[in-house]
């Protein structure tokens, strides 16, 4: 199976690899997937308290090229968005942008889950109720 140019590009030059301080009040951390399933994503957002915008996003991913590309793309999209706007990111947007084949759709679902998990972590830390999220099939 050949990879799309965009997957290859994110794999070769991943954006926003790294770690934010998860102890900080304005940092939300989402850790999704499982080592047994062959992919684990950790996605973090840092929210600017004054503007409510996501000022930084970082990821680390254990997984195939498509999983790495999906999380790299997600961090790019997150920066500059409000938390509510970030919630609207749909896995199918990632599928479309990266031209993921059907067997790799679960990578995009995982990225969406990671975004939502990070947002929920941020909400809980800041006294907001946890969002109940619909489960997408992996």
């Amino acid at each position: 199976m050949a990879y799309s140019e965009k997957v290859l590009d994110h794999y070769t030059n991943p954006q926003n690899v790294g770690t934010l301080d998860k102890a900080k009040q304005n940092v939300g951390t989402g850790l999704v997937g499982a080592p047994e399933c062959g992919d684990v994503m950790r996605l973090q957002i840092e929210v600017d308290e004054a503007s409510g915008l996501i000022k930084d996003a970082k990821f680390k991913t254990f997984g195939c090229g498509s999983a790495i590309a999906s999380s790299s793309l997600a961090t790019e999209w997150l920066k500059g968005k409000t938390v509510d706007q970030a919630l609207a990111i749909d896995n199918m947007d990632i599928v479309e942008e990266l031209n993921l084949p059907p067997v790799k759709i679960h990578c995009s679902v995982l990225a969406e889950d990671a975004i939502k998990a990070a947002i929920n972590d941020y909400r809980v830390k800041n006294g907001l109720p946890e969002l109940v999220l619909e489960q997408k099939a992996h």
Binding site: Y11, G33, A34, P35, D39, V40, F62, C64, A67, H138
Partner: protein, 406 residues
Amino acid sequence: MELKLPIYLDNNATTPMDPRVLEAMLPYFVEKFGNAASRNHSFGWVAEEAVDYAREQVAKLINADPKEIIFTSGATESDNLALKGVYEMYSSKGNHIITCTTEHKAVLDTCKHLEKQGAEITYLEVQADGLVDLNELEKAIKPETILIAIMYGNNEIGVIQPVKEISKIARKHGVLFFTDGTQAVGKIPVDVQADGIDLMAFSGHKMYGPKGVGALYVRRKNPRVKVTAQMDGGGHERGMRSGTLNVPSLVGFGKACEICMNEMESEAKRLSKMRDRLENALMQLEESYRNGNKEHRLPHTANISFKYVEGEGLMMGFNKDIAVSSGSACTSASLEPSYVLKALGLGDDLAHSSLRFGLGRFTTDEQIDYTIKAVTDTVNKLREMSPLWEMFKEGVDINAIEWAHH
């Protein structure tokens, strides 16, 4: 010597054809095109003579009699013919077959098929190093047992089963012994007499011959073994496999066997030296694990898990330049990691993190140097990107985390 890319290190999947093999085959397409079963004219005689010669070359490589070689379309067909053919032929004696969990799918799925027909199959677990436990094997034998089917060398981890000991147990209990020799024949000395093999499947394209051609060795003496044909027709191959013989490919298969016969010893030495160098260099990486028994294995195969990086992601770092294979689920449609590695008791995480290197006749030292560097660099790069590596480095117990399985 200038390094030519891409590098092929997936010789357990298939081997390139040796140019000497192609040369031997060429006259048999256009000029000498006869049907080996045409007994009444020179076109047929020429083809028959070529097939007879190939049969001798093939038989010689495994120390068999040419009459004991049944030509087939490859090892999958040979596996099917051996298992189904013995099951049908010996049904009055019993219905029980013993095999093991690390066999190739051509054996395992054929066994599953036979189960539906009324066979009872014992799937022996292997030990952590990939070898079958001989005591367990002997214990599994019962009065209904007609066949033991244990492979010679494993395609994923290269482990060589104790074939001589297995055949002794089979003999002692009057049970036939079939082995899938696909990865072993032509790579290491395989001797059906010394090894006590009753039936053996093997294939042309794993030993620098053409694809679509293989053989089933069927013992004719002590004991005389018979299999029920699975392909009916003109009664070719002593009635055990009908179908017009693929003369050019058989000529190539014969030539490939002859070359292996002559060069196997020096080639195995050369390859195991290169393989060890590759393996030792990659085992220098922290948290890398060799899969399978280190002593009893094929000279050209290495299988290593690089913990905390995922196999397909890892291959992507260099698969433009280097062809290897992974036990990662992402490379399979099923999303299940390698059942062979799991049978060794590896956790899914290590099975997902594995690479298989299959060296071959045309592998060079320069290619090995290049591969060591590319794999090392990619492992390091991906670990920097891996949340699991970060946790490991911080001393977090990854197994203690409640992962959301999906």
